[in-house]
């Protein structure tokens, strides 16, 4: 196995170990803790009164435009990263190219701003 893949394997093992430790702690807790069931304990908390309706009521999420902007900018950011590691190699050509790229990006943000979608209402 190459070093490259082995590093990612290590990350995977790291994650699994973390999950195992959390499981261990929760398991230890389930051995130690008491269980005295009373139906009142299992009612959802709603400031001390009986809950109204279901907990999964519909509500206005408000930020789908933000989410769209985020997806766009995040993908753009992924394009900036490889360029950022090679700034020296490209010199002024790269600066101008990336300047145009970021300018268009900023233009998109400015358009959203002028369209007043950057308001959380």
């Amino acid at each position: 196995m190459s070093d490259f893949l082995r590093d990612y394997l290590t990350v995977g093992i790291f994650g699994l170990t973390g999950v195992a430790l959390v499981g261990l702690l929760l398991g230890l807790g389930s051995v130690l803790r008491p269980t005295r069931a009373q139906p009142q304990k299992y009612i959802n908390y709603e400031s001390g009164v009986d809950p109204v309706g279901t907990g999964w009521g519909q509500s206005n999420v408000r930020y789908y435009v933000f989410a769209l902007l985020f997806v766009m900018f995040d993908v753009e950011a992924v394009f900036i990263f490889p360029f950022a590691t090679r700034v020296d190699a490209y010199g002024w050509f790269g600066v101008i190219e990336m300047g145009i790229f970021i300018f268009i990006l900023a233009l998109g943000l400015l358009y959203a701003w002028k369209k007043k979608v950057l308001r959380w209402l």
Partner: protein, 346 residues
């Protein structure tokens, strides 16, 4: 497949790695966590003119143990309406995301778990996984406060992930690599306009990025002044409302641990990581001193994060979004442009 023999027993690579991870977690991360916990609690107490934990051990040094001991004995209450399976999964996702952040950190010239060429990129990706756990926790609780808290947390993440990523781009341009060891080396060997006395901790040349990064960190950690997802006066404790006992403690510790992890990343990116000025990077002694240096720098950044936490009042939700999109992102973009031009010009 590399295998090692320990005490005459042949171990496969995954076994060796698991043992290493476990060893480090138990021997290093837990005491370090206890220390950070105590340091922060004492700090916040002194800022608020009180003593803080004093009962458990000398000056309350065993406070974390006492807390865990207490929470271990607490009854586990799962609301009957909750989506049980998701309810149980959520803390695992949050904690695993935090653990994984430490897997890419370099602690010394030879002290690291992975030396990935995409180190900082992976760290940024892993850090945003935890919000999935938070969203799951909010949804699975079947509680209105929890749901609002979870949705707020997701909205906050999508607003502040970007300034953070864009701030890191400035550092990457200066270092010319995504590898965290490479970034440490670039700071140690760098020079500021020809002066190479103390290297170039990117704090000095990327102070704008450092500011943006810290603010975004604050928001990603849902710390005051960006703690709308857990705003106790509006939505009780947000996504944690229905969690009790040990599961609540896991979220609580996860919050502190993530603060520590982000502080360590900021220390690596901006304060020079484990390296010390005037000491060679290949010096073997750095394998012992390096982790301590990183730890000290991490505490410094942690101090800044918690200082802000205990000083500022909470923003409104719409102010939070406006601040990210109208101020931080344009500032970060300008920072990238300026860094690029200066890097090529000099």
């Amino acid at each position: 497949m590399i295998s090692l023999s320990v005490l005459g027993v042949e171990l496969a690579y995954w076994q060796v790695t698991s043992l290493r991870v476990l060893g480090v977690l138990v021997a290093v991360v837990l005491p370090a966590g206890a220390f950070v916990y105590l340091f922060l609690f004492k700090m916040m107490s002194f800022m608020q003119s009180r003593l803080g934990p004093m009962e458990a051990g000398p000056f309350g040094s065993m406070q974390l143990l006492a807390e865990v001991g207490k929470f271990l004995q607490k009854e586990d209450i799962v609301p009957e309406r909750a989506d049980r399976r998701l309810f149980f999964i959520a803390p695992y996702i949050v904690l695993a995301s935090t653990f994984l952040l430490f897997s890419v950190m370099p602690f010394g010239p030879d002290v690291y778990f992975t030396n990935l060429d995409t180190g900082i990129f992976l760290a940024l990706g892993l850090s945003s996984v935890s919000v999935i756990g938070i969203l799951i926790a909010g949804w699975a609780s079947a509680n209105k406060y929890s749901l609002i808290g979870g949705i707020r947390a997701a909205g906050q993440l999508i607003a502040y992930e970007l300034p953070m990523v864009l701030a890191v781009v400035g550092v990457v341009i200066q270092a010319g690599t995504l590898n965290l060891q490479g970034i440490v080396a670039a700071q140690h060997q760098g020079e500021i306009f020809g002066f190479s006395g103390i290297g170039n901790p990117f704090l000095l040349t990327q102070f704008v990025a450092f500011g943006v990064f810290l603010v975004a960190t604050q928001a990603e950690l849902t710390q005051t002044p960006f703690d709308m997802p857990v705003a106790e006066s509006e939505i009780v404790t947000g996504y944690m409302t229905e969690y009790s006992g040990l599961r609540f403690l896991l979220f609580f510790i996860g919050e502190f641990a993530t603060a520590g992890a982000f502080a360590a990343i900021a220390a690596t990116l901006f304060l020079g990581g484990w390296a010390l000025p005037f000491v060679s990077l290949d010096d073997n002694s750095m394998n012992f001193i390096g982790p301590l240096v990183l730890f000290a720098k991490m505490l410094m950044v942690g101090f800044l994060i918690f200082w802000a936490r205990f000083t500022f009042p909470r923003f409104r939700e719409d102010q939070l979004q406006a601040f990210a999109w109208k101020y931080l992102i344009p500032i970060a973009l300008i920072n990238i442009l300026v860094t690029m031009i200066l890097k090529v010009a000099f």
